[in-house]
Symmetry: C2
Subunit: 382 residues, 2 copies
């Protein structure tokens, strides 16, 4: 652990350009927050590339390569400014593809030097789960705002440390909960809040897929922190939390492992129940053993609404008990997530998918694992 | 409890006509069992009304009135021979409607005299759950075969007593699990057995409805034995058992009660998980608080199949991951159930929905209630 003063002293570098940018942005922050329209942020500043929030991607695996880097090209207020990787050949390929100058390229050893790079505002941690805590904390101490992929970390205590580090460094911290920016999911949150189908009473939700390569990091306990539950079950858990707007009180769960070799270190399939303070019950599932579960169904007093598929990058389909299709424009969820975090950074306000949000999920996930281990109903840590 | 010899002595009365009928039927029992075609049972007997298996309905509530009596008219091998009710005006109305002679009408006090009535072969117990055990046992001791509505009884120990009484009286006992005779359900059982979509891995299943009249017997603890779980959750439980062909080993469950006045004596909403020996996990729900849950979804290694609605008297819809609709002819499930039991009676063979099958469900239901009460994973009694 580095001393606190180092974290503070490495906060956002104050170059003239950056100071001017932030000052100009700051004058319209209130208006932007009200209007919710990103283009209001910088009314007097030309939309020059260098004025966009600079993202460095930490970890250049499949998600960065296939989703996040392309999504950055679609953002309004972000740009791919830098990369961090342990593989020089990847660095070279990305430099060529995205015209990234060498001064913005880092290895995991040189990562902390990002503190001296004014072109990078945000580090987006796209590493295996078990590395999220370290690289979030180092990023914050290097003065960077941190967007961290889900699950936020392997443990709730790691989440607490990450939140603490970002708070000490006065940096924003958000978790890559892309679905919370997705219009179908947002429409469903509204249907729940507005009680369009009456009181929400029960939710069934599940997400799983058949995992391939047996050597991938998702199957290693230390890197993944858990199996299907940590990786994709968390989407079903998130849905239950943002549909109810509540935290579950009590958890019961069971695990099944039909391939104990492949899943020696992580969970294969889990089903779990949650009870919420309002009386809503949720029954949920996750798996690495087969595909096809990708939904939530919100059962209300006077009807229902549902997404299936729910958690994919695209092609989300919604229906209601009125026979309606929930029709919303399809967006790039990663682009929306990154633009939103850019707004949070500019406006100096916490993200709705803050570190605290990520911590809440890890507390529930730990209760699920506790219930499986003990065979008892587990209370979610307060 | 009546003495055992009385039960034995009151077995099927041996009138000349009846003996002749059974003898003729017996000669083709093996062929009928192989062909599975009811018309083979009685090849040399004209399909006269009096040759049909005579059913007496015990309890003339909504289910008897609206479903079972009309279904009897659609059966091939059954006839509505008698009725048992505590309400003289109902007796009168049914006599008028179905031309039932007074000699075949009983009150609950005179019920045991049914032993002397050769026109009645089967008593179909359509009383509140808490009365199933008594009227099944009295029916068996009166020498009648017994078809008993689900749930079989309030407790597993009552089920054991019912099975024992029918065994001692050498009478067949079956439970009114109509879905097991329904073509969509049977098609799904075949999809599971034949592994059409690969190995079955997980099932989600639920059934619930919004209960009306707060004064009905379904909300009384002694009459109902439980709430939504006993009444309709049992369909979801059944589906999990007949899709896997296995008995669940371990149960975890949670209950929610949002209206503690209406549901003072019985459960309102329950979610539960089950683990099966093969590793299949099930996550299930039941409720009296809202409508709309009426499905099972069988998740397999290479696809899925699903019914939704699944447990209704009609209108069942099936789909698979191949984009197919599971198209089957719609039947009267009660008629099929009663014709099947008539075949069992004629052939002297146990029903596939025997008392043992009903007992298995009660053991699981008791484990669900135990898990709710103790907060612990409950093992299903062996």
């Amino acid at each position: 652990m580095k001393p606190k003063d180092k974290a503070s002293s490495s906060a956002l570098p104050e170059t003239p350009n950056r100071r001017q940018f932030i000052k100009q942005a700051g004058t319209v922050a209130a208006g932007a927050a009200l209007a919710g329209e990103a283009k209001l942020w910088l009314p007097r500043v030309q939309a020059q590339e260098k004025k966009k929030i600079g993202y460095a991607l930490v970890g250049l695996g499949g998600l960065s390569t296939n989703q996040i880097a392309p999504a950055l090209q679609k953002t309004k207020h972000c740009r791919l400014a830098g990369i961090v990787s342990g593989t020089p050949s990847k660095i070279k390929a990305w430099q060529d593809k995205y015209q990234i100058p060498s001064r913005n390229c880092y290895s995991y050893e040189t990562y902390d030097q990002i503190a001296n790079n004014p072109e990078i505002d945000v580090v987006y941690i796209v590493l295996p789960n078990g590395m999220h805590a370290e690289y979030t904390i180092r990023g914050a101490r290097a003065g960077k705002h941190v967007l961290c992929e889900k699950p936020m970390a392997n443990t709730a205590s790691d989440c607490v440390a990450m939140i603490q580090a970002c708070r000490e460094a006065d940096r924003q911290l958000a978790v890559g909960y892309r679905c919370q920016f997705e219009p179908h999911h947002q429409a469903c949150m509204n249907l729940a809040r507005e009680k369009t189908f009456g009181e929400l009473k029960m939710i069934d939700a599940g997400f799983g897929f058949k995992i391939g390569d047996p050597n991938q990091w998702r199957l290693k306990g230390d890197l993944a922190g858990g199996g299907a539950l940590m990786d994709v079950g968390i989407y079903a858990l998130q849905a239950c939390r943002y549909l109810t707007g509540e935290e579950p009180m009590a958890i019961t769960a069971q695990e099944s492992k039909t391939d104990p070799v492949k899943f020696a270190e992580v969970d294969e399939s889990i089903v779990w129940n949650m009870q919420f303070p309002s009386g809503v019950l949720a029954y949920c599932s996750t798996t690495y053993a087969f595909g096809g579960i990708n939904r939530f169904h919100a059962h209300c007093d006077k009807g229902w609404f549902s997404l299936d598929p729910a958690y994919s990058y695209g092609g989300i389909k919604g229906r209601t008990s009125k026979g309606e299709v929930i029709e919303k424009v399809e967006i790039d969820q990663f682009a929306a997530e990154m633009d939103d975090f850019a707004a949070c950074v500019l406006e100096g306000r916490p993200s709705k998918v803050s570190g605290e949000e990520g911590l809440k999920d890890l507390k529930v996930i730990e209760a699920i694992y506790t219930s499986i281990r003990t065979g008892k109903r587990a209370l979610v840590a307060g």
